[in-house]
């Protein structure tokens, strides 16, 4: 468990850099570490770098915290680690949650105090139950009170505060019956102990109630916290910087510090940090993340480019027109906020159970009080019975029933490479009956493959040319030719024409590889690359999209689970139909704008369907937020990851049907747990109503039901 993790004081606190005395700690993400050797290697490598004062790896968080004397930067440390065989990325400390997690530590301390008091009071209570009488019993009650009253005043405070909050808001939450039971039991037992009248003392019941409920709350918190910190880490991995060409030459700045009118340099392979207009340079632009188009488009001076697009082939100078929150990317992300309606409408299983339970308990104990008062005429005795009803029915097991299952299921999903970000995501995922996939970047990897290419000499020439370019199609061609066992033909004077292709000379003839217009091919709308050798008709090299690993397994698995599978894409209809046919998806639509995707999801929801959206791009972001549940691969844009409930950490899509199956199982287990907890109450309530409840019975019912429920949840984790 990542329990009280994250308490290393320096983790998030990027201390202000005043002079050389106060230095920022460097945080490094180590995604692959998993064993003692990894820890030792990482710490030794970091420690051997000059300028490193100390380095400590946290294996639960997969991070290293490095203290330096300021002469070494995160990039150098990462290079050193990669040389040692450990992939490493610097983390942007500013984007991680600030400060050590006080909440979890506070809860743990309260659990510790409640646990200590519970055990000591239980020892004294056992003596009372087994027959201690008269002065001994009164003494034991007094000692119990001396331990229990301060312990409860401290450790039950979260429930008391919660009850006050929900009463102020005019609601009856779970906290109200809990707080009432704890308070009344303590006060009444204290009165019994002081008066020495010989009634029941419920101190150990009040304490064990507090202890078990705090444990449930802690499980809930640690589950959400682990997901939150991992999600913050994902976004901290995108350190967004830009190269601004200032008066004093190029300088690196944060992209949110850019202003309209700034000139920025964007090198091949970089993502555009702001919207703008190309001033200098020609290139190919990959718009897949923004629009879902697979094939890069050519761009030249005067063309508009948008933040989030990737520059592929040529270096550019761009004049910024919109930056920061004004970019198209940021405005599209704002669509998300308005789309999050399905989520807020969802009422979790625990809340629904609490909604039935809380009023029922209050009515029952009030009825017990009134009936016993009327029958026996003894108000004090009637109050005792009403409190016994409250204590015996108290939702100890109910408080553990749902969080314990969530923790077990999220833990198992995490080991399979899925990060559950939202507390109710599992429940919503379990209800899904339609799965909508995005195409580019989700079902396909976004890098093309070669469907059919020439053989022999032509292929060797093409390889010679393709090696001169970083364009994804050229790289795919080079990989294809090498797999076919070809070696490159000697192409001279090779140069890349950004936005067009590569040209060179081979055996005195001009050869070109690239777009149809560049090579004299005829563009027929299929995705293709052309090879032109002077004196020959141009050859077409057909491109196909690469399916992501497990894509067909995922679709087949989902269909086997009785779920309808759909494909909604922003790419052209032809490309969408081809992928749909390869995967056997009957229902596929192409050419959709982001708003069209949301509309499609809304109409599905209007027909009563619960939709799971799986997508990665900015054009999917609004749809991810609008769907009943959503999954985004971690290769996607930050905006998509933060809109999704669940992030896919690995490459393989086949875990999606597994996640669905596990979510359904988890939901069944939660319902089962709630029924189990209710079953204990059904047995215990009549006993309490008849006035036959004793503290011993309450202690037995409470611990056995809590343990049953926890064990039932743990079964899910393996």
């Amino acid at each position: 468990m990542t329990a009280a993790a994250c308490a290393c004081g320096g983790i998030a606190a990027q201390r202000p850099q005043t002079g050389a005395t106060v230095l920022p700690d460097i945080l490094i993400h180590l995604p692959t570490i998993h064993c003692a050797t990894c820890i030792a290697t990482a710490e030794r490598t970091l420690g051997a770098e000059p300028g490193v004062l100390s380095a400590r790896v946290n294996l639960s968080l997969k991070r290293a915290l490095v203290t330096t004397d300021g002469t070494i930067g995160a990039t150098e440390l990462c290079t050193a680690l990669e040389r040692a065989g450990l992939p490493a990325h610097p983390l942007d400390t500013g984007r991680l949650a600030t400060g050590p997690d006080a909440g979890a530590r506070d809860l743990l301390l309260r659990i510790g105090v409640a646990g200590f008091a519970m055990m000591n009071v239980m020892l004294l209570s056992v003596a009372v139950w087994s027959g201690a009488s008269d002065a001994t019993r009164d003494l034991f009650h007094l000692i119990s009170a001396a331990i229990a009253v301060p312990a409860i005043a401290y450790s039950a405070r979260p429930f008391l505060a919660g009850a006050v909050r929900s009463l102020r808001a005019g609601r009856l939450g779970m906290d109200v019956p809990i707080a009432l039971a704890i308070l009344l039991a303590t006060l009444m037992s204290a009165a019994e102990a002081l008066s020495g009248a010989g009634g029941h003392a419920w101190f150990e019941a009040a304490l064990s109630l507090t202890f078990f409920l705090l444990a449930g709350r802690y499980l809930d918190l640690s589950c959400r916290r682990a997901a939150r910190s991992a999600a913050a880490e994902l976004s901290a991995l995108d350190v967004a910087t830009a190269t601004r060409i200032g008066a004093a030459g190029p300088e690196a700045v944060r992209s949110d510090a850019l202003l309209p009118g700034d000139l920025i340099r964007v090198l091949p392979g970089q993502r555009l940090p702001a919207d703008g207009e190309i001033v200098e340079g020609e290139t190919d632009i990959d718009r897949a993340a923004m629009t879902g188009e697979t094939l890069p488009v050519a761009a030249a001076p005067g063309d508009a480019v948008a933040a989030g697009e990737t520059n592929l082939t040529g270096a550019l100078v761009v004049r910024v027109t919109r930056a920061g929150q004004d970019t198209q990317l940021a405005r599209l992300a704002a669509l998300v906020a308005t789309a999050e309606t399905a989520r807020s409408r969802h009422v979790s299983l625990a809340d629904r159970a609490g909604g039935i339970y809380a009023p029922l308990v209050h009515v029952l104990s009030a009825a017990a009080f009134v009936a016993w008062w009327a029958l026996s005429g003894d108000a004090w005795h009637a109050l005792g019975i009403a409190i016994a009803v409250l204590i015996i029915t108290c939702p100890c097991a109910l408080g553990l029933a749902v969080p314990a299952v969530s923790v077990a299921a999220s833990g198992r999903l995490f080991r399979r490479g899925l990060l559950v970000k939202s507390a109710t995501a599992l429940e919503r995922l379990a209800e899904v009956d339609v799965v909508v996939f995005d195409k580019t970047g989700t079902l396909t990897t976004g890098t093309p493959a070669i469907a059919d290419a020439p053989q022999g000499t032509d292929l060797r020439v093409a390889l010679g040319l393709a090696e001169g370019s970083d364009h994804p199609a050229a790289r795919a061609l080079a990989a294809h030719a090498r797999r076919a066992g070809e070696s490159p033909a000697p192409v001279e004077h090779r140069r890349e024409v950004p936005g067009q292709g590569v040209e060179g000379t081979w055996q005195g003839r001009r050869v070109r590889l690239g777009r149809a217009s560049f090579t004299g091919g005829s563009d027929d709308g299929t995705s293709a690359l052309w090879l032109a050798i002077d004196g020959q008709a141009p050859h077409r090299i057909r491109l196909a999209e690469t399916l992501r690993d497990g894509a067909s397994d995922a679709v087949a698995g989902l269909r086997a689970a009785g779920v309808r599978v759909m494909l909604l894409s922003g790419d052209g209809a032809g490309a969408v139909a081809e992928i749909a046919a390869r995967l056997g998806i009957a229902d596929a639509r192409g050419g959709l704008l982001p708003a069209d995707k949301v509309a499609a999801l809304d109409s599905l929801a209007a027909d009563g369907h619960r939709v799971l959206m799986v997508g990665d791009g900015l054009n999917d972001t609004a749809a991810l937020a609008a769907a009943h549940a959503s999954i985004a691969p971690h290769s996607g844009l930050d905006a998509a990851r933060s809109a999704a409930d669940i992030v896919l950490l690995g490459q393989d899509l086949s875990v999606v049907p597994e996640a669905l199956a596990l979510a359904r199982l988890a939901r069944r287990r939660m319902a089962q747990n709630l029924w189990l907890a209710a079953a204990y109450n059904v047995v215990a309530i009549p006993v309490a109503l008849m006035g036959a409840a004793t503290p011993l019975l309450a202690a037995l019912a409470m611990s056995t039901s809590s343990i049953t429920v926890s064990l039932n949840a743990v079964r899910l984790g393996r």
């Binding site: 308490a7 290393c8 030792a40 743990l108 200590f116 000591n120």
Partner: protein, 52 residues
Amino acid sequence: MNILVFLIPVSLFLGFLGLGAFMWSLRHAQYDDMEGARHRILSDRNDDHPAR
């Protein structure tokens, strides 16, 4: 029953000892990396004083 005069303080003292140990370990970051601790114990260079 006079033995209670000793036994009750003794049991309370032991209880407080346990609580104190728990609070010490919480304050000294012993629960910060549960995953790493079980691997580190095997290492010759085991350092059981995590930074706070």
